[in-house]
């Protein structure tokens, strides 16, 4: 299937107080096919939010794109003019922000906020617009769409606010949805509900979904492919089932090992969880070594000398680690 989004060799840096630029993304390559769910696994500081913003060329003014392209339907979004970008944002590619409590206008009714998105993109008569807004609200709220739509954001719960963000995102029928930590501030039961909604919408609307999260467990059984982002680079990329059940990169492996398993009667609760020691590397400090090397449990001599290149382990699975080549 032909990819609808292609990201090539993306390099993004921010200026820092010390003078040396902070490398937020250093060489990110991937593509997205129609109707595919791609999970981007990364912790804070891995560059995931920068990546999400970059996909729609929404970086803050200090962000410098030194190299790379983001191609959607034949257009490089990083080179497109503001007018073209405005047409695409919210209508062809939608971004769902991280914090629902601050991503909505505080004094505008929920329905109006969804309506604004429709109005910005469709120059049609009021009737069609109303229909689209109603359809979006109905898809996320079901029968309660009428009463909830008349409320203000502060009158809704966290999960309901997230649903409003989703309604705004799907209102104009985009082909790609980017969700940046959509459930980070929600409790597990609400989280499960949101993911069920995502699954439903993805199936019924044929959306391609890029789901960005720090929790690998959320991607299991949900994403088709997983991209593991570490310190601005891709550690591993492949089919979700493979990456999660048989992770190759030491970081992915350590991450999955640290998840609390289903307790068995034999398991002692005094045993400590396996963990990844240390912290993320300082992205402003220039280094020639593999970014994960200081914390890697299986590091070798060569890991200190240069960064590993991506090695293909199969037709769709690649890893950036010297243990597998590079």
């Amino acid at each position: 299937m032909a990819p609808i989004l292609e990201v090539r060799d993306l390099h993004i840096a921010y200026p820092s107080r010390s003078g040396t630029p902070v490398r937020a993304l250093a060489g990110v390559d991937f593509s997205l096919s129609s109707g595919e769910i791609l999970g981007i696994l990364g912790e804070s500081g891995s560059g995931k939010s920068t990546l999400a913003a970059a996909l729609l060329n929404l970086l803050p003014p200090q962000g410098r794109i030194s190299r790379g392209s983001v191609c959607f339907e034949g257009i490089d979004l990083l080179a497109a003019d503001e007018g073209r970008l405005r047409e695409i944002r919210g209508a062809r590619i939608s971004l769902i922000h991280q914090e629902p409590s601050i991503a909505l206008h505080p004094t505008m009714r929920v329905r109006a906020q969804v309506d604004e998105v429709v109005r910005a993109h469709l120059n049609t008569a009021g009737g069609t617009r109303r229909a689209k807004t109603d359809a979006a609200l109905g898809a996320v709220f079901g029968s309660e769409a009428g009463s909830l739509g008349a409320r203000y954001p502060h009158e809704l719960s966290g999960g309901q606010r997230q649903r409003v963000l989703i309604a705004q995102a799907i209102a104009c029928g985009p082909s790609i949805l980017i969700a940046d930590e959509p459930t980070a501030s929600l409790d597990s039961v609400t989280q499960a509900g949101i993911f069920a909604l995502f699954g439903e919408l993805q199936r019924s609307l044929g959306l391609a979904l890029i789901l960005i999260t720090h929790n690998p467990a959320l991607l299991a059984g949900f994403a088709h492919r997983v991209l593991v982002l570490y310190a601005g680079g891709i550690a591993e990329l492949g089919p979700a089932a493979d990456v999660i059940s048989q992770p190759k990169h030491p970081y992915t492996k350590a991450l999955l090992d640290s998840l609390p398993p289903w307790p068995t009667p034999a398991a002692s609760t005094t045993a400590r969880l396996p963990m990844i020691p240390g912290d993320l590397p300082d992205l402003a400090a220039p280094s020639l070594a593999c970014r994960f090397e200081p914390r890697c449990p299986v590091r070798m001599e060569v890991c200190n000398t240069r960064e590993p290149a991506a090695t293909a382990l199969g037709p769709a699975h690649s890893v950036s680690c010297f243990k597998f080549g590079g």
Binding site: G45, S258, L273
Partner: protein, 277 residues
Amino acid sequence: MISGADRAMEPLLTVESLVKRYTPRGFGGGRGGVTALDGVSFSIAEGSTLAIAGASGSGKSTLALCLACLERPASGQIRLAGRELTTLTETQLRAVRPQMQLVFQDPSSSLNPRLTAFEIVTEPFAAQSRFSASERAARARALFERAGLSFQSATRTAAEFSGGQRQRLAIARALALEPRVLILDEALSGLDASVQAQVANLLLDLQEASRLTFVFITHDLAMASRMADRIAVLDRGRIAETGPMDEVLRQPAHASTRALIAATPQWKAELRQQADT
């Protein structure tokens, strides 16, 4: 963690029939209102951990605030080492507060971003005004070490630390007055998955070393299962069920427990198979 068999002595913390209501303020008095806690009871032995699990709206945060004596319950009892807390005056409470400390979910809002790490950790000393400057510095150094932070970072402001480090700071601050009980209100929920294990291990180490008692309040059952051997499930202000962790998880009696288990992503079928191999 001490198993049930060793709990022959009186439990350190006992809560009995705790009730807390919130009524809206306003002209004309409060009609309506919410009963956040509707008769909550449990007990915890010294040196052990009780996990209190519930979805949002179950009353967890209210319970944390009541336990820390930051909110007064409408009725019920909280006994710490035999001493009843709900009827104490503010002055009497001040003597008791050091024994029960609270660690919040979001370190970026519970820590003053303008203070340096040193100031944050020694803040409780200033309130108690017992120690000289050199004593404070020595104690701060010890706290940093216990929390796994480098003392060289003591002059940096809270904003310059990562999320995991900030939570360590919050824990260090909570330990400053040598409490017997730590109330962890979603203390790990705001951290990245990769950092949760680190901080969880730190807490377990601290518990072993200092015989701390933990009240681990969370919606994340997976984390709860690694921190505690006993669990109480909170549903709409009431305890739905309580018991040893693996018993409750393997044979949940209440619908809300089942819902929480089903909603835990770490225990999805795809991941469980992997763990069993």
